[in-house]
């Protein structure tokens, strides 16, 4: 459950952003959470809900989560497949089992709306 400490890191960033922009209330946060980031979206949301309830700046803010896609390259024929869903079990072209993922490890704060 490292998601809580990641949410704490997020709140630290939000605090600095709010200060720099002279804002006292954040209304919406957009995050990009890659399927290979090791972060469970539900746990992240859970941490966000719990911590934001006690945080004057973030209280009531909307958390929008976007899942970026991953490109899997076949080690045999080089075929590339891009998906934000589960890793394909095999190459769709040649059936090879070994596919190398690219991307999908991101945990990015993309956009913040504040008042």
């Amino acid at each position: 459950m490292h998601e809580i400490s990641l949410v704490q890191g997020l709140f630290q960033q939000l605090k600095e952003l709010a200060k720099a922009n002279k804002s006292s209330r954040i209304t919406s946060i957009t995050m990009e959470i890659g399927p290979l980031s090791g972060v469970v979206v539900d746990s992240f949301r859970f941490g966000f809900d719990i911590l934001s309830a006690d945080d004057g700046l973030v209280q009531g803010a909307k958390l929008i989560v976007e899942i970026p896609s991953v490109t899997y390259t076949c080690t045999e024929c080089g075929h590339k497949e891009t998906t934000a869903e589960k890793k394909p079990g095999e190459c769709q072209k040649c059936g090879e089992l070994f596919l190398i993922p690219e991307g999908g490890e991101e945990l990015i704060l993309r956009q913040v709306e504040m008042e």
Binding site: Q13, L36, P101, L107, M114
Partner: protein, 241 residues
């Protein structure tokens, strides 16, 4: 009507603004990890981050590794645990510099703890002449895999009693690692652990993974592990000369 959310009062949003940020939540950790790695490179230290479930035999493997490489490679150890000095005491008994990091509840080490830990280690006897640094992470196959500590290689371990399904169940640890070690192979006669299935699943997730299987207690398979460590240390020395 307000265009932002459809509420009937546009004035409520007159002060609202949208800011594009695009920074990673790992950015702060990654920056410290990078500085750690640069420091290790500068001082010629190979750093390994050991990740596994509790009880997979990380400390036992380290004890036997220290014995086997005594007089050949100077080893230093950073032990990560939630509580107690027990692991550090076991390693200290082998006569190498070691410090214990207790996270006090946190389920993983991060780059900042590693940074502080390493500077403490440097002050220990022999801590200024380390060739090979083992960072034994908190026993957990999930959270440690998301935090770069500044290591050169990440080693994930699974012991035979845990079962062969760990790579399939905890993919991130295997995707982010360089090396996969099956430990306690002396117990293979008593458990249903097809080594080929476990390593096959791991390679399916990460085709670049180096794999090995060993028993620290009997010494079976240890030579491949020791060769791997020797090669890393030699490579570091060659790169620096």
């Amino acid at each position: 009507m307000c265009e932002t959310c459809g509420c009937p009062s546009p004035s409520d949003h007159s002060n609202s603004k949208t800011i594009d940020v695009h920074t990673s939540l790992f950015a702060a950790n990654d920056a410290i990890a990078k500085a750690n790695r640069e420091h290790f490179d500068k001082t010629g230290i190979v750093a390994l981050n050991l990740i596994s479930s509790p009880g997979s035999g990380k400390t036992t493997l380290l004890e036997h590794t220290i014995e086997a490489l005594k007089g050949e490679i100077n080893i230093g150890v950073i032990e990560g645990d939630i509580e107690t000095e027990k692991d550090a005491e076991r390693i200290r008994a082998k006569g190498v510099p070691v410090i214990q990091l207790t996270t006090g509840g946190a389920c993983h080490l991060d780059a900042s703890m590693t940074h502080k830990g390493f500077h403490r280690l440097e002050k220990e006897e022999g801590g200024d002449a380390i060739d090979l640094l083992f960072i034994e992470n908190v026993g957990n196959l999930v959270c440690p895999s998301s935090f770069d500590l500044g290591e050169h290689e990440r080693v994930v371990l699974v012991s035979v009693p845990e079962g062969p399904d760990k790579p399939a169940k905890y993919p991130r640890a295997f995707i982010s690692s360089h090396t996969f070690v099956v430990t306690k192979t002396d117990l293979l006669p008593y458990f249903d652990f097809p080594v080929a299935e476990a390593t096959g699943d791991a390679l399916h997730l990460n085709p670049r993974l180096k794999t090995m299987a060993l028993s620290a207690t009997t010494g079976d398979g240890m030579e491949a592990w020791l060769c791997y460590l020797r090669e890393l240390v030699t490579e570091m020395k060659v790169n620096r000369s």
